[in-house]
Structure formats: C-alpha cells, structure tokens
C-alpha cells in the first residue's frame, strides 16, 4: 500500500500541530512585523558623533541664542543658551522646533515667474528691466521685515542709486522706535492689549523679570496675557483710547473712574512703571509716568535705522515691489500691499522661503534659504536697551536654487560683494568702534571688544555663537516721549466700518510638520482666516454660522469663514493676525 493523499494530509496536520509548539510562527510574525522598518527608502535618522553647535534664532526679532544638539552634521534638538542676554536660556515653542521648518511642504524650492520655473538669471534680467522701465512717478520699493540689518544696508545702497525709491517696513517692525525697555528695572507694566506674556519682546527676558513686575492688562478680550496678568481691566473695544487719559488724570490726583483710580494706585505703588500698547494717549501717559529716558522706563539706543512705514507709502506709487519675507513671520495682508502698487502692470518680487503668503500674488518668486540653512544675522531685538548684533550660522545644508534676498539685491545692483562679505564688514565696523562686549554662547562669558585682537578673531568668535552688546548711552534723559508711542491705537467705529476688529490667538503661520499635532492643539481648531462674531452680531449682518464672508478694514479686505461664538463681545470681530481697527463684514 503506497503513500496516499490521506497519509499526506495526516502528516501535514501533524507537522502543522508541531510547528505551533516551536518558535517558528512567533519568530516569523515578529520578524515580518519589523521588516518594514528596514526597507529601502524608509528614512533613517543619521548616525554620528553627538556635538553641540551654537547659532541665533531668526524666526522673530527677539534674536534668542540657540544651542543645537547635532548628530553628525544634523541638528536634532534645539534649546536656549543659558545666560544669553536676550533669551536667558529660553526658547519659545516655535524656536524649539525651528530645525523642522526646512521640511515644511509649503516652501519655495526654485525661482518662479508667474508660477512657472525660471532660471535665476532670467528672473534677474526681468526684474532689472522692470526697474529700468520705471517712469518718473513710479517708485521701486523694498519691503524689509527687519530694518537695521546689514541686509537693510544693502537695500538702502541699492535704492539710493535709483531715481525714486523707498525702503519700507511693516508698521509693527519697529514698535518702540529708537527706544528699548529697561525691563530689568521696571516694577509695573500697564499694557494696552500688548501680548506681554505671549511672545512680546524676548520671551525669556520677560519671564526672567516677571516675578518683580506688576502686570496690568487693559484689553477687551480675556487673552492669555490677560489671564496671567496681576490685574485684567476689561474695556470695550476702543476703550484703549480713553482709558489711558483716565489713568493719567488719576495719577495727577484728578477725578477718574474706579478702574482707572485702582490702576493709578498700583502704578504709583510700583515705580518705575511704563505703559505700552501704542497710541498717542499711551505716549502721553508715559510722559505723566516720567518713564522715558529714565532707568526702568524707555531708554534710547544707538543703532536705530529709520524705514518708511509701508502704510505711509502713497497708494498707487510703487511700480516694482520687492518683498522680503522672514522665515517665521506672518505675511502682510495682500490688500494693503496691492493698494500701494501702480494700477497698470506692477511687478512684485517675493524673496521668500514660502510658497504661500505674498508669493501667491508675486510675479517672481525667488526662493530664500530657510532658517538654519544659510549664514544670516540677528539685529537688535525690539525692546532692547542697547544695540546688539549676532550671526546665525547655518546648521542645515540648503537645497540648490536658493538665493539670499540680500544676494539677489546685490546682483540687481551689479555689486560683486557677497552677503557674507557684507556681514564681515559689519563685524569689522564693530571691532573698529571697540565699544561693548561679546557674550560667547559656549562658555557663557563676556569679553570686552577692545580685548579682542582683530576683526578676524571677532568674526570667528561670532561664527561659533556669540552676541555683541553695545554699551548703553550715557545720558538717556531728554528723549522725546512721543516717539515711543508704539503702534497707533484703534480708530473708533464709523458708519462705513461699524464693528471693531480685535486680534485673536494667532495659530503659527508655518509650524513644524511634526510638532503641529502636539503644540497648542486648541490653536489649530480655528484656521487663520476664521472670523469669530457673537451670534447676534452675525444675524444683524445677515451671516450664518460657518458661512463665507469678507471682512473689510482700513488696511484691506480679508476673505474669512464666520464662526458664531456667544463668548465674543457683540459688535466685535475676533480674527487672528489682525491689529485693533474698525471693520465691516458682509456675506461673500
């Protein structure tokens, strides 16, 4: 009798039962489960020596010192530099994941002309031709997000050679003009809507001084700063204009309402005190508080570079507009910029790392390196009482086809200098002045500039991570209190603009693709273009919850999605990324 089919099945059954009693199925299950981890194409973190490198954060004007933990040449985590004069060892959540930004989807990778790839030489030639074709009334403008840098000097030199040109900056780029705030000696801050505990100045510096500060927040919304302030004074939108005058009266001992009297009492008990948040009324209040030019108040510094406020540029005057967009900043409303352009055939050039923002409306997009991808500079942070300068050395390898905005302008000007050479000139000028001190990130020590042997040594030290701090001005008294008014206050509602637009929490325009799931999840629930109104206000304007609408303000028109929220004050539109201003809303 031979080996039958039944025998085969019986033997196979026995084998199958036996295999279950061996490690075979379980080992195969485990091995195949982790098999995909080693497939070709699966990204593997680089391996290599763990090193510490230093740079300076460029994502906002605060200029925080950054200590990067690198594996091989790749930064894997960022942290603050202990003892750094501006950041005091602190980085904000965006700064902590700044090394992720280079991997965002929305970044510009190659030069574009009307949305189509173009060689950089052709883009340069086209922009040069557009500048040459400007008429006598047309101007060329460069919108500089952070005036006062060596790059700003490049822009000014280039524009000086043109018949009609303007070096302009966003309205909020120099909130305190040539003044800094002596936060270390201030005892009370009366804030009119300024986000003092939510990204104002250098977060680390504010936090380091928070314990000795009385913070009074005057604001219509219960913002994060209001919730953490020692006293929140809720005012009606627009009340920021009248409340400072009431506090000033109370400070002089005149009659005022109970809130203003209470605020005045706190300010008198905690001197020196300052008022911030903008407007002529706040500037006058600072004059009453005698906070300008005195320790604990507003102190002037040396390096202020005046740039024209973009809002002050005449409408319809710019033929060629070059817009530099900073890596971490939200773009300006396009309607504001469009108004400044000539009606016929303007040329807009976006020098930007991003494909959204102004790049969506630009004729030419020149991709700029992302933060950490190229050598850059951090100028004096807003609110600093002394001038400062630091370099931001690259930690990441930049992809090809990127051009530094300053390099692009240098090539437009047919200048053979390179951007690093311009930075070297700046460092050489600091060394020549022999003023101030150099704070080195690695050892946390300061050294007088006059003790540094040469400009080359200073350059080398700055490339390794260091910040130069100027000496304070010796006689700060006598400064004009009105120049530190800060951003202008809101106008009151008009028949054309019957509502008040107030800022809401701003979700970061560009965040880490990895951290966006973890960081401020609540901030992600509302998109950047959501306008929140009280249901009554919405119904009065024929809106429904979730409908599309257009918000108009003196700065421009914004397409939005309407969200009804009974927690919002009637007569108010809450919208991210906006300053206080009168506005109207209508269904799209």
């Amino acid at each position: 009798m031979g080996f039958t089919r039944r025998d085969l099945l019986t033997f196979t059954g026995g084998s199958a039962a036996g295999l279950l009693l061996t490690p075979v199925p379980w080992s195969l299950l485990r091995d195949t489960a982790v098999l995909s981890e080693n497939w070709p194409g699966v990204p593997q973190p680089s391996h290599g020596e763990i090193r510490t490198r230093y740079t300076t954060c460029m994502l906002c004007p605060a200029g925080c010192g950054v200590r990067a933990r690198c594996v091989g040449d790749r930064p894997v985590s960022l942290a603050g530099v202990p003892g750094h004069p501006a950041s005091r060892g602190v980085l904000c959540p965006t700064g902590l994941v700044g090394h992720h930004l280079a991997f965002c989807r929305d970044r510009a990778a190659e030069p574009l002309a009307n949305g189509k790839p173009v060689a950089i030489e052709r883009a340069l030639a086209a922009v040069s031709a557009a500048i040459a074709a400007c008429g006598p009334r047309d101007s060329v403008a460069i919108l500089d997000p952070r005036p006062g840098r060596a790059a700003s000097l490049v822009y000014r030199r280039f524009l000086a050679g043109l018949p009609k040109a303007v070096h302009c900056a966003p309205s909020d780029s120099q909130p305190y003009g040539p003044f800094g705030i002596d936060l270390e000696n201030t005892r009370a801050i009366l804030s009119f809507g300024a986000p003092v505990l939510d990204g104002w100045l250098s977060p680390g510096r504010v936090l380091a001084n928070r314990s000795h500060l009385q913070l009074i927040q005057v604001e219509p919304a219960y913002s994060r700063t209001a919730s953490l302030a020692d006293l929140w004074v809720p005012v009606l939108p627009g009340g920021q204009e009248t409340f400072p005058a009431a506090v000033a009266r109370a400070l002089k001992g005149e009659d005022a309402d109970a809130s203003a009297t209470e605020v005045a009492r706190i300010l008198l008990r905690n001197k020196p005190a300052i008022a911030i948040g903008g407007g002529a009324a706040v500037a006058k209040l600072n004059a009453v508080l005698a906070s300008v030019g005195r320790p604990g108040g507003f102190l002037p510094r040396r390096d202020f570079t005046l740039a024209t406020d973009i809002a002050a540029v005449p409408d319809g005057s710019i033929r060629v507009l070059l817009i530099e967009e900073a890596a971490g900043a939200n773009p300006l409303p396009w309607d504001l910029l469009r108004r400044k352009l000539v009606p016929q055939n303007p040329v807009v050039v976006a020098l930007t790392p991003w494909l959204d923002g102004c790049a969506q409306h630009a004729d030419y997009v020149i991709p700029a390196p992302m933060y950490l991808e190229s050598l850059d500079e951090a100028p004096t942070p807003a609110g600093s009482t002394v001038a400062s300068f630091s370099l931001s050395p690259a930690l990441l390898t930049a992809p090809p086809k990127l051009t530094q905005p300053a390099e692009f302008v240098l090539r437009l000007a047919h200048d053979s200098a390179t951007y690093p050479e311009i930075l070297k000139q700046r460092v050489a000028a600091i060394e020549k002045d022999r003023r101030g001190a150099l704070f080195t990130y690695a050892d946390g020590k300061s050294k007088r500039v006059r003790d540094i042997a040469s400009a080359g040594d200073l350059w080398k030290a700055m490339l390794g991570g260091a910040v130069w701090l100027d000496d304070p001005l010796l006689s700060p008294r006598g400064a004009d209190p009105l120049v530190c008014a800060g951003p202008p206050g809101p106008a009151l509602p008009t028949p054309q603009y019957p509502l008040i637009l107030i800022p809401a929490d701003t979700p970061p325009q560009h965040g880490s693709p990895l951290m966006s799931k973890l960081y401020r999840e609540s901030g992600l629930r509302r998109s950047a273009n959501a306008a929140t109104v009280h249901p009554e206000t919405g119904r009065d304007h024929a809106l429904t919850d979730g409908c599309r609408a257009v918000v108009k303000s003196p700065t421009g028109a914004f397409p939005v999605q309407v969200i009804f929220d009974p927690a919002v004050m009637p007569g108010v539109i809450e919208m991210a990324g906006q300053g206080l201003s009168p506005a109207s809303i209508r269904r799209a």
Binding site: F11, G14, A16, G18, L21, T32, T52
Partner: protein
C-alpha cells in the same frame, strides 16, 4: 504490519509532529540568522592581558555623557601603526585599515530599532552596573564571534547582548522605570 495498518494515521501524524518539532527547535534557530563575520579578528583577552586595557579605555563615555561606542581607527593606530607581534591577522589589519587610514566597518552586535533609546551613561553612572552584567565575559573573549543578523528583519540578535526581556527583568528587580515609554519613544 497489522498494527502499523491499524495505527497508520496516528503514526504519520506523530511523525509529522516530531519532524516539525525538530525543524522548529533545531534547524529554524540556525536558519533564521545569517552569520556575518567581523572584518577584523580582535582579542579582548590579549588587549586586557598584554596591554592592560580596561573596557572604558576603548568603549568610553564622552564628556557630555553619551557613549562613544566602538572606538575609531585612531585608537587602534596609536599602537598598531607598525605590527606589534608576528600574527598574520595583525599584518592584514594594518595593511587593510591602518596604512590606508580606513575606518573599520565593524558589525554591530546589538543594532536597535530607531524607536529604542538606550543610554549607557544612565546604566553606568546612575545604576552603577558593571559591563559584565549585560555583556557577560565578552571582555575576556579571544575572538569576536560572527554577528547574527535576522534574515527577514535585518536586525542583529546576538546572544552576547541583552534582549528586551532581560531589560524588563532587571528593571523590575531594581524598581526602575519599566513602562514602554521608558525605552521606546
């Protein structure tokens, strides 16, 4: 014959069972791994006995506490720029790596998945473990055994090094953090 015919099915089932057990317990553990030899013959014993080297002389911690792992060629070149003995292995090593200044492509005995975090510094400096507690008598071995690489997953699985169960046991005994997230991040 009659008995075989009467129990034919049971016998065949048992034969299949035994064959599978033999294959699963004896052949499979051998076939599961590919044995990859190290590029250079190395004797921990000779280096410890003759050169008086200790573990930390080559497998050191950096100043920041991270583990330097396998030493770079510089460490070897310091003594072996010229042959110190007469062995053919040493001559081959010098010709192949020291003279052309080429790093040795050592095979890792314990390559971990990327989601596993292990710090030698914690275990040496905080838990005060001795190298032998995990690595056994590896420091006294005369040869480097081949690295066993799982044919399917590509991970190494050497009996000279600890596995996850051993980690868990030790953590449990010492009352150390033993949750998944203590090591897997």
């Amino acid at each position: 014959m009659t008995a075989f015919h009467n129990h034919r099915g049971q016998i065949l089932f048992l034969a299949g069972l035994l064959a599978a057990l033999a294959a699963g317990w004896c052949a499979f553990p051998v076939l599961r791994f590919e044995r990859v030899p190290q590029p250079v013959e190395f004797s921990h014993k000779i280096h410890a006995d003759k050169a008086g080297a200790k573990c930390e002389d080559c497998h050191s911690l950096r100043e920041d506490g991270t583990f330097a792992g396998i030493p770079a060629l510089d460490k070897c070149s310091g003594c072996h720029a010229q042959p110190m003995g007469t062995s053919a292995q040493e001559k081959r090593f010098i010709d192949a790596y020291v003279t052309p200044n080429r790093e040795i492509p050592w095979q890792a005995y314990a390559r971990q998945p990327e989601n596993v975090y292990f710090s030698h510094a914690y275990h040496l400096k905080l838990a005060h473990l001795d190298c032998r507690q995990c690595h056994g008598a590896q420091g006294e071995s005369d040869t480097l055994g081949p690295v066993r690489v799982e044919r399917i997953s590509g991970y190494s699985g050497s009996p000279h090094f600890q596995n996850m169960e051993a980690c868990e046991d030790c953590h449990r005994q010492r009352g150390a953090a033993n949750s998944c997230l203590a090591c897997h991040k």
